[in-house]
Amino acid sequence: MKWSEFFTSSVGKKFVMAFTGLFLISFLIVHVGINACIWADLVDDSDNGEMFNKAAHFMGASYVIRIMEIGLFLGFFLHIIQGYMLEFQNRARRKKGYQVAMGSKGSAWYRKSMGLLGTLILLFLIIHIQDFWIPSRITYATTLGEVTYNNGAPIHDVYTKMLLVFSQAWVVVVYVLGCFSLAWHLLHGFQSSFRTVGVHNKKYVAMAKGAGIAFSIIVPLLFALMPISIYFGWVNNN
């Protein structure tokens, strides 16, 4: 069978969604881990973002990581394009709809709203890239300060940028809403991706469902707590 057919059949398109979705999940684990370094300031009030800035520096400095970053953009791109194609093609399979909709009989709302939830994540992603990725990768000369730790070379002070961005209440609200969308998207997506790639053994389906619920609550919650802990000054620069 040709690769082109393998990945473009109705089942193949779902493989693309599932593999890119799982890849994005692995990215979230790295991302949440790096960002959690801001909480070093809770343990040691003189940290002032040192641990986070060093981690962020590591993620930006090495070529290996920068190449992986291209892979990440590709993953997002594929997931989003294939996601919208699936959404629109699937909708077009029923040109004449029902007078009385099924509603949530048989399937919860979020399981049928992956396109909408994905769109909300995409809108959030655009704001998020503008807030942090562009300043730390492109416009850093004018948008970021620099700090020096232990007489080393100066590195970008992304931490102070975070404190600045999350001092605005509306930004914090947008980020928390973004995390909500992600949580619902993952609540369906996590388990669905495993089942899409063929996991049907009861034992493993139960594991995918359990891990999916845990992941969809814990990871977005951790992300949401970051702007919140900055806004309320739990994490600060003094």
Partner: protein, 254 residues
């Protein structure tokens, strides 16, 4: 349960043929017995329509005992009405009470075009089965039933999948008009058995190919199909189908 009679308002989809634009028609039916099946209730209405010189409502039915999958009505926003694991012919009027309004629509999917009123063309399913939902055997003497050993669990799972009656309620319920529950049942019951082994890979590839040609959508695991399936076919079969497809797609020589 106490027997009772009821008066109902029916809103039924009427459409002369596949070309004509259809519309809803409202009918009042009275003295309907709680013991009647839904189809018998429509029979009563149809007899009256015939007496009045009007065109009776066309609907598919055959066995009227829940095993053929012909009857297909989308009733008040759910394929086959409110009962779990049920066909329209096995839906009884005790599910309703006096004064209820019932909206009856045909299955809706581009791949199930309306032929007339509530009758849809489901030959797309036949073509999917023709693409590989069988085993090729030499004719001759029947093989002794116990000649081939089959593990009990596998036999049970294959039997559960083989219970699919090809009704299409899964497609009717799916927001993507996906036929994956149907297809996965057809692929699973053969993939689980030794008799299905020789054509295992070409079967799944050809059947998925035909399903796509017929214009059904992709499965996104909303599980609405499983919730309405009269034979309680499990979505687990869809994961098995995807696995079969992946292995076949990656290893098939062609």
């Amino acid at each position: 349960m106490e027997h009772y009679t009821m008066n109902l308002t029916l809103k039924v989809w009427r459409q002369k043929n596949s070309q004509e634009q259809g519309r809803f028609e409202t009918y009042q039916v009275s003295d309907i017995s709680s013991e009647m099946s839904f189809l018998e209730m429509i029979d009563v209405l149809n007899e009256r329509l015939i007496k009045e010189g009007k065109d009776p409502i066309a609907f598919d039915h055959d066995c009227r005992e829940g095993i053929c999958g012909a009857c297909s009505m989308y009733i008040n926003g759910r394929p086959n009405g409110p009962w779990h694991a049920n066909t329209t012919c096995q839906l009884h009027m005790r599910a309703y009470k006096d004064g209820d309004t019932i909206v009856v629509e045909p299955w809706r999917a581009n791949s199930f075009p309306v032929i007339k009123d509530l009758v849809v063309d489901r030959t797309s399913f036949d073509r999917i089965v023709q693409a590989g939902g069988y085993i090729s055997v030499n004719t001759g003497n029947a093989v002794d039933a116990n000649a081939m050993l089959i593990e009990k669990d596998k036999a049970d799972a294959a039997f559960a999948a083989a219970a699919c009656i090809g009704c299409g309620a899964c497609v009717a319920a799916c927001k993507n008009s996906s036929a994956m529950l149907f297809l996965s049942a057809k692929v699973s019951h053969l993939a689980l058995l030794p008799q299905g082994e020789p054509e295992r890979k070409s079967r799944v590839l050809n059947m998925v190919h035909q399903m796509d040609k017929e214009g059904f959508g992709s499965c996104t695991f909303t599980e609405a199909c499983e919730a309405v399936c009269p034979k309680e076919i499990s979505v687990t079969n869809i994961s098995r189908l995807n696995k079969e497809y992946m292995i076949a797609g990656l290893t098939e020589e062609k």
